[in-house]
């Protein structure tokens, strides 16, 4: 696999959307290519950063109770 193809597949690799064969090809490439490994680690870190920054917002307790009453 060349870097260009790896870069094309990086979103899907980070999102675990590649099939096993493709994922393995990307994995083997990045393990032998420091540039692509850096890109991968950066993308993966950014994805986790977005998740953890946003998922701390949870529904207020009072709102949850109110909904429970409305819906029952």
């Amino acid at each position: 696999m060349r870097c260009e193809e790896c870069s094309d597949k990086l979103d899907r690799y980070v999102d675990r959307e590649l099939n096993d064969t493709e994922a393995l090809q990307v994995q083997l490439h990045i393990e032998g290519c420091p540039d692509c490994m850096d890109h991968y680690e950066f993308q993966d870190h950014l994805k986790r950063l977005v998740k953890h920054s946003c998922d701390c917002d949870t529904a207020p307790k009072a709102f949850r109770e109110k909904l429970r009453q409305i819906l029952s």
Partner: protein
């Protein structure tokens, strides 16, 4: 109308997805009160249309779809002609930081506060923002995100890709403004 017991079970299961719906509504409306109104209406609608939910399918995706459709009806008048994002090139933040001689992960990503990341997400155009919410924040597969949004998987992928480029650009701008990154020029 469903039997009371069935209705209660349905409501109970639906409420296990409340945080996902609330977070999504909050990021779409930028306002806790509006988000609560939106989510409440979505739940009432879900209860009314529960017969159209197929047991065993993805209830979280089904509920999110109801909520985001209400959002577009209510706040956008169903107009989904969204701002489009330009192709900014690959790895905007990463490449710029490398050019500045910084270590993109250790020097920058680790130092950006969660509130700045949320602000960058909030700045995305809503059609791009909701893809990031589903895939990155809630962990939806491309397929589930596509079904939820009523678009092809290819659209999910292209919106996600542009959204991530834009996020990198916003975070880079923030890193420069706040002095996390010092321009060498």
């Amino acid at each position: 109308m469903a039997e009371p017991a069935a209705q209660t079970a349905f409501a109970e299961e639906a409420l296990t997805h409340l945080d996902t719906l609330y977070r999504g509504a909050l990021r779409l409306t930028h306002d806790s009160d509006q988000a609560q109104d939106l989510v409440q209406e979505a739940y009432l609608r879900a209860l009314r249309y529960q017969h159209s939910y197929q047991a065993g399918t993805n209830m979280r995706a089904w509920l999110f779809a109801i909520m985001r459709n209400l959002f577009w009806d209510r706040f956008k008048g169903s107009r989904k002609d969204d701002v489009s994002l330009d192709d900014l090139g690959e790895f905007v933040l990463y490449d710029k930081l490398k050019d500045e001689g910084a270590r993109p992960e250790a020097d920058v990503l680790d130092k950006i506060a969660a509130s700045e990341v949320v602000a960058a997400v909030d700045k995305l155009p809503p059609l791009h923002r909701e893809v990031v919410l589903l895939v990155d924040v809630e962990g939806f597969s491309y397929k589930d995100a596509a079904d939820t949004l009523g678009v092809p998987i290819g659209t999910v992928m292209s919106r996600l890709h542009r959204a991530r480029q834009q996020l990198q650009k916003s975070l880079y701008d923030y890193a420069v403004e706040s002095g996390i990154v010092r321009l060498t020029a």
